[in-house]
Symmetry: C2
Subunit: 209 residues, 2 copies
């Protein structure tokens, strides 16, 4: 990020009074960036979705000048991609003790995540795919495909360890895992024990034993 | 439908020259209705999705008076639900010779259907769920849930016949089947042989043998 003069609404005093907020000495530009990304996510999660996100609206919500946003992001698509990436965050650390343990960890994470603001943002980006194809494509490249690689790696390790049959198409298994969660689009409730049943049904379908 | 004076753009002559078009003697009101539903689907499949559908736009596209639409549909949500229901049409007839044959028939149908206009409409309705929750809910009730019942019935018959284990949660199996297709959102291509591999992996997971 280039030098900037953020005018973030929150003062350093306010930030320091909140747990997990900016450390003393954290650069103001970093705080402005966080305010901008938070504002983008908030707007994106609202009912008007991608349509409702504009540089003007983000600046107003974040309490920064529009120029502060343009210094870092050339357009709203780039801003949204970064905001979503930051929001989704890394997947949980995997125990690595076996394919079932890893898949259950991922399934539990997906069960929680679907209730979060991130999920509304995700569906709004997917829903806007026809209207904003470049945004969807960037989101796919920057967020969805790296995640898919994590899921695939779990299954590939399972094959290497002899837990998963060699003739299994790991792409199909990933589509079953992630797609089954998407089938219950929020706010549809997820049936009790869904993640565990899903993982065990998939495992029975792909296991060597 | 009450008495109407449709002014459908297509004349009877034009219709009769097309295969599968109106039979001679088909009431003009029926032709107007078809023109209205077709126009709704066309608009819904376009990039602006549900936003782009209005009574005005449908009337213009269908070549009918707005009053002709209002005689039958009180608002655009009702019109969209009927249009989608008509478009998706019935699922294919199932062979009924076993759970694998039935699932393969459904999977082949889903493989084809995802390339059709219906699929773009579906994603636009799903994408507009935050903004048009009543439309999404009606679509769910009128189109998605009846389809889900067909899938569930295939699996329940499999349980009755002893092909599918009694402890399988058939809802999870349906989420795996339908969700896996949704995971490859068009225009992402479907991997070769996807439907068959998916069905066979699911079956291995739920079969008694």
């Amino acid at each position: 990020m280039t030098e900037s003069k953020p005018t973030a609404r929150r003062t350093a005093e306010t930030d320091e009074s909140r747990p997990g907020a900016a450390r003393p000495g954290r650069p103001r530009s970093e705080r402005a960036e966080k305010a901008i990304l938070d504002a983008t996510v908030d707007l994106l999660a609202e009912e008007s979705g991608v349509d409702g996100v504009s540089m003007e609206a983000v600046a107003a919500r974040a309490g920064v000048a529009k120029t502060t946003i343009y210094r870092r992001w050339p357009n709203k698509e780039a801003l949204i991609v970064d905001a979503l990436g930051a929001l989704k965050g890394p997947l949980p650390e995997l125990p690595g003790t076996g394919v079932r343990d890893d898949l259950l960890t991922l399934a539990r994470y997906m069960s929680v995540e679907r209730g979060l603001k991130a999920s509304r943002c995700f569906w709004n980006v997917v829903g806007g795919a026809e209207k904003y194809p470049e945004l969807y494509e960037r989101y796919r490249q920057d967020v969805m495909l790296p995640r898919r690689e994590v899921y695939l790696d779990v299954l590939r390790r399972g094959v290497e360890r002899g837990e998963v049959r060699r003739d299994v198409d790991v792409n199909v298994a990933v589509a079953m895992l992630v797609g089954a969660f998407a089938y219950h689009k929020p706010p549809d409730p997820l049936p009790d024990g869904f993640g565990e049943q899903l993982v065990d049904t998939i495992l029975r379908g792909i296991s060597t034993d």
